[in-house]
Amino acid sequence: MLQALANGLMLGGLYACIAVGFSLVWGVLNIINMMHGSLIIFAGYVTYFIWYGTKLSPIVLLLPVIIALFIFGYLLQYLVINRVVKRPVLTTLTLTFGLDMILYNFMNSFFEATPRRISLNWGSFTIADIVLPIDRLVAMALAFILTFVLYLLLRTSKVGRAIVAVRMDRDAASLMGIQIPQIYAITFGLGAAMAGACGVLFAVAFPVTTNISGLLLGKAFVICVIGGLGSVPGALIGGLALGLIESFGSHWFGPQNAITIGFILMLILLMVRPTGLLGVKGYE
């Protein structure tokens, strides 16, 4: 039982990281970024190949990957997505879906779908009969730290507060002199950067393959609904919640049903409290 709790929390930390970038983009730009899963996997592959070639620890790679993906996201938003950012969800979703197909194809052609695993073999340590694999612990810890850093960024820095202002009321923010396209680009860049970070951490603990990019995206959806959009603490809570639900669900109902429970919960929440546990009233 306690093991299930530990498993759930460790998974949850990673899940939170998956969702936080996605939630930010959705909450601020009103865009459902279908590329999010693929961006995570992309970062995972890059990490793997650099590790394979140079044996550099993935932790070291965290910062460069984050920066690289931030730039990628920023440019993508500024040059491409910005043109359609005001359109309804169907349009933006379809656009990111199309972009995702391009990225996915690219990864399949260059990296191939074979599962790649970074063998770190850090082992695990045991407390009172509960086994805690170190790589997952590290991934969870880093996920929390990064999420916290992002939170601080949003709360205290000038840019961060501008982002929050745009999320709350775009027109008012614009009237206050905030450059909306700039903020959008930065936000998307941040979203991509977090996806990148998640990818690096993911590669530490899981085999990387393009086959699961859709799965990761699905988790991001569920977490955002559970935790609330555009809110970093929300993504955290949502991630932990999903991790725990899947872990206990698997424990009690069998692995077959664990994932289903997550989705059903999401549907129920959508009907009853769409803004999630911590969300500010999101966009319609």
Partner: protein
């Protein structure tokens, strides 16, 4: 309006004549075009007319497939199974609609995708009933490929025709007017006295019924269904793209979009072995930027201006 009907008839008759003018490959292609047209027309009810971007299409197709397959395996005859599958789908859609149509926009979109996943997962686990990951066999129809090809072509064409007629009716009726009002401004529509909830559920149910029928027909056609393919996320994302391509909210748009999409897929990018997904992605991006209203709503001057780089009005 008459233009739409004429255009439709042209497409319809060409497809129906396929067995007499070309070989089975084209008959199959025509069947796919008819199927996707029916799906696109269905989506149009909730996505085009009412403005609720639904990604639940695959949920209804899958449900229809499994309902049809299970009924057929239980001994019920072909067409009856299809009809029952459609009824089951529409009932499911009505209940589902009652639940998730309370939310709009993004949440609705996300919820509808979730439904597809949930149904897939349930189908996959409930193996005693659905065969789970093994999938379900359906007895292949006797009679050789030419005969079978024709049967299924005409079956799909029937559904396509029904969907089109329903679209025509909806477009001209008070019901359709109400839906379009909801799309424009739901609260205002509500205040004017339109029973928004009933209208939305009706549109959603309409968007489901033909999907269920095509799903059931498809199961009988292929002879085998499995959860991952029956509840295919790719399909559920492709169908709105087809409608966008042709022109959402119009009468003929979905058919045109389905036609162009399937032909493009068959002739153009299937030949690029490694890059076919990327090309589909590029086509989608192109569509979003240069054909925002779909082919039917192309404003040629604006289009040229955009291509030249000048920001359109």
């Amino acid at each position: 309006m008459n233009k739409s009907i004429t255009a439709f008839l042209l497409v319809f008759i060409t497809l129906a004549a396929m067995p007499f003018i070309a070989d089975n490959y084209f008959v199959k292609l025509a069947t796919f075009i008819a199927m996707y047209s029916a799906l696109a027309l269905s989506w149009n009810f909730i996505g085009g007319f009412t403005g609720y971007p639904s990604f639940a299409t695959a949920a209804f197709i899958g449900l229809g497939s499994y309902a049809g397959a299970i009924l057929q395996n239980a001994g019920i005859n072909l067409v009856t199974a299809w009809v029952f599958a459609s009824i089951i789908t529409i009932i499911f859609a009505a209940f589902l609609g009652f639940a998730i149509l309370r939310v709009k926009g993004h949440y609705f979109a996300v919820g509808s995708i979730a439904v597809v996943e949930v149904l897939r997962l349930i189908t996959s686990s409930w193996s005693s009933f659905t065969g789970g990951g093994d999938g379900l066999n359906v007895k292949i129809m006797e009679g050789g490929p030419d005969f079978a090809g024709r049967v299924f072509l005409y079956a799909m064409l029937c559904v396509m025709l029904l969907a089109f007629l329903t679209t025509l009716w909806v477009d001209r009726s008070k019901f359709g007017f109400g839906l379009k009002a909801i799309k424009q401004n739901e609260d205002a529509a509500d205040m004017v006295g339109i029973n928004v909830t009933i209208y939305k559920i009706a549109a959603f149910s309409l968007s489901a019924v033909f999907c269920g029928t095509t799903g059931a027909i498809y199961a009988s056609w292929i002879g085998y269904i499995a959860p991952v393919d029956a509840f295919s996320i790719l399909t559920t994302l492709k169908v709105p793209v087809m409608v966008l391509l042709g022109g959402e909210g119009t009468v003929f748009g979905p058919v045109l979009g389905a036609l162009v999409f399937v032909i493009l897929e068959e002739s153009v990018w299937a030949h690029f072995l490694e890059a076919n997904q990327a090309i589909l992605g590029l086509i989608i991006v192109f569509l979003i930027f240069f054909l925002p209203g779909g082919i039917l709503k192309i404003d040629y001057r604006k289009l040229l201006a955009k291509i030249r780089g000048v920001k359109g009005a």
